[in-house]
């Protein structure tokens, strides 16, 4: 093997020698194209997914209905639908598709962030127990009335934050935690909060509410209504945008916390901010849909492998791809076995478990 280190050393008096044109412009352009393409795919998915279901509706009907409701009725290509169909699209399917998109985006971005700040490729809001803590918070607020009338979402947020705090506490601040230790600690936190949730369900719920909650805990978007969607949208979109501000800091975490510090990143502040922000968007997602697992594992890894591990690309693209994934998972969940509906979390777990095994294998090699 030869090297030009030697030659380079002799050329010392000319530090910026051998300048060549940057070869990465093409690549940058293609990354922008991929993000654009994914966004178009997301819009197409939102419309296409609204078509699936019992009634026979055309894509243009869906587009027209949506345009009419957002005040752009003049440019709608098709005449108005009967009131019942209009309501089916606008009041039932469309909010549900939007909610799937928001939850998918939140979970995927959470996963990408958690993987970077714990430096662990197996991190996921579900596997680390953040979702589990958020569920406990939600159940405690609703069934036990803890907190004196705070909302389910606030309860979920506090629960998620508590679970995250407990995780970091058990990791001793996590400065040198190995991936194995992070995952095992996540299992511990997750199981602990799952047990607390079960306990609350058993002691306070009647059979009916217990059944409803158990279904919700498996992760389902069946409860989507406009008022809930608006609230969730504000939190998740604001949270994801805020997280984008930390993209370059997350890149600097590649070789660990000391390395990030030496690159000028205020590691403690960044970690606290990201902990709060990921708890916030995870909690919003859990409050809206229960604990849907593995989206945060599947999506960021796929984007890293296929496009780029750098967070300026990874974070926005994970958001879009996570949204698309959950839209189609939920569409499948509500239509594949009609009249029965599957919890979306069951499907993501079916997809996610093999993905987890693959990541584990990659990690070992």
């Amino acid at each position: 093997m030869t090297t030009n280190l030697h030659k380079a050393a002799r050329r010392a008096s000319n530090p910026i020698a051998g300048v060549k044109p940057a070869p990465s412009r093409l690549r940058r352009a293609s990354v922008a194209a991929i993000i654009l393409l994914a966004t178009v795919g997301l819009l197409a998915s939102i419309i296409a997914a609204s078509l699936f279901g019992s009634a026979n509706i055309s894509p243009l009907d869906v587009v027209s209905t949506i345009l009419r409701h957002i005040g752009l009725g003049e440019i709608a290509p098709n005449p108005p639908l009967p009131r019942l169909l209009d309501a089916l699209i606008w009041e039932s399917r469309f909010p549900r598709v939007l909610l799937s998109a928001l939850v998918g985006a939140a979970l995927a971005v959470s996963g990408a962030v958690l993987q970077a700040i714990t430096r662990n490729p197996l991190a996921d809001p579900y596997l680390l127990g953040v979702s589990s803590g958020a569920s406990t918070g939600a159940v405690a607020v609703i069934l036990l009335g803890i907190g004196g009338g705070i909302s389910l979402s606030t309860g979920a947020f506090i629960g998620g934050l508590l679970a995250f705090g407990l995780l970091l506490l058990l990791l001793g601040g996590g400065r040198i935690a190995s991936p194995t230790r992070v995952v095992l600690t996540g299992v511990l936190v997750s199981q602990f909060f799952a047990a607390v949730t079960s306990l609350i369900l058993m002691i306070s719920g009647d059979a009916n509410s217990t059944r409803g909650f158990t279904y919700w805990l498996l992760g389902t978007l069946a409860g989507a209504r406009w008022d809930g969607v608006n609230f969730t949208a504000v939190i998740i979109l604001a949270g994801v945008v805020a997280i984008l501000f930390f993209a370059s800091s997350l890149d600097a975490f590649t070789f660990g916390w000391d390395s990030a510090t030496a690159l000028g990143v205020n590691v403690t502040a960044v970690r606290i901010w990201l902990m709060v922000l990921t708890s916030l968007i995870t909690a919003a997602a859990v409050a809206a849909s229960g604990a849907i697992g593995f989206v945060g594992l599947l999506v960021p890894h796929a984007v890293r492998i296929l496009v780029s591990p750098m967070h300026r690309t990874l974070l926005p693209l994970s958001a879009v791809v996570g949204a698309i994934l959950l839209i189609w998972v939920d569409t499948f969940a509500r239509t594949a076995f009609t009249p029965h509906e599957l919890p979306a979390g069951v499907i993501t777990a079916l997809l996610g478990a093999p993905a987890f095994a693959l990541v584990l294998k990659r990690l070992e090699s």
Binding site: T3, A9, Q115, P121, T254, F255, D258, S259, A262, V265
Partner: protein
């Protein structure tokens, strides 16, 4: 090029004094070797110099500015750190690793400018891994990883670089090339080293640590004597000059008993 000055540095963890009243200086453009056996405090001192840990007492100054008055970001624009045995948690390419060196110069949403790209190209070229830049970091050999880390450090356009045993895992050839490169950089370097011959040959100044204290400091020829090496490392050596180039040469003869009993052990 910048000056590093550490005065009265002490640091302890849970009652163990790891560094005790360290005084050391690195002058403009010089290569300073930090020597000493395992556990003597080399890595700890480097971490304190880098501002990664805060000393209990004492001050680290870059030129005339105390580390306490420098923000992380401002410090990172002049000081680069090359750590030992780092691992990446995701599959970054070599070029992306080097791009990280531009972090302290970039705004939150700034793309890399042409200027950044030129500096990255030059850094890759400088350590001789331009042809590997598209490869995944994980596919590199230990020596190539070390060079990629150095390229990342160079992309920070540093005035000072701190390196923790950078010659570990390197073939002899790369060890020599790396240290030769450091000497040619016109950057002030503080390098923790195990190999006394490398230190003798490439360092302008060496600081020998033992049990968290500065045992000796000065030019390699003045410091690396038979007596010092026996008492700090517990090794009998022959120190002479290599006949053709006249560089200092240290030949290891035998391990002696530990330093606490050195007088009797040498007699035996």
């Amino acid at each position: 090029m910048g000056r590093i000055n550490a005065t009265e540095i002490s640091w302890s963890v849970k009652g163990h004094q790891l560094l005790d009243n360290i005084e050391m200086a690195a002058h403009d453009g010089k290569v300073v070797g930090l020597l000493g056996p395992n556990g003597s405090g080399k890595s700890t001192l480097l971490r304190l110099l880098a501002g990664l840990r805060r000393p209990d007492t004492g001050t680290v100054r870059y030129d005339d500015t105390s580390l306490r008055d420098l923000s992380r970001r401002v410090l990172a624009r002049r000081l680069a750190v090359v750590e030992q045995d780092v691992t990446a948690h995701n599959h970054v390419s070599v070029r992306q690793v080097v791009e990280l060196g531009r972090t302290p110069f970039r705004g939150r949403f700034d793309a890399l400018t042409e200027h950044d790209q030129r500096i990255i190209d030059a850094a890759l070229e400088r350590v001789g891994i331009t042809d590997k830049q598209r490869q995944s970091w994980h596919t590199l050999s230990g020596g190539e990883k070390q060079r990629a880390q150095l390229a990342r450090a160079l992309a920070q356009e540093p005035r000072e670089i701190l390196l923790d045993e950078p010659t570990n895992h390197l073939d002899i050839r790369y060890q020599l090339e790396l240290l030769e490169l450091l000497g040619s950089l016109r950057v002030t370097c503080v390098v923790a080293l195990h190999d006394l011959n490398l230190a003798a040959r490439y360092c302008h100044h060496v600081v020998v640590l033992d049990h968290g204290q500065v045992f000796a400091a000065g030019t390699p020829a003045a410091v690396l004597t038979t007596e010092l090496i026996r008492s700090v490392y517990g090794v009998e050596v022959l120190v002479d000059r290599e006949p053709t180039a006249g560089t200092l040469r240290i030949t290891y003869l035998a391990a002696t008993a530990p330093r606490t009993a050195d007088a009797t052990a040498v007699a035996g």
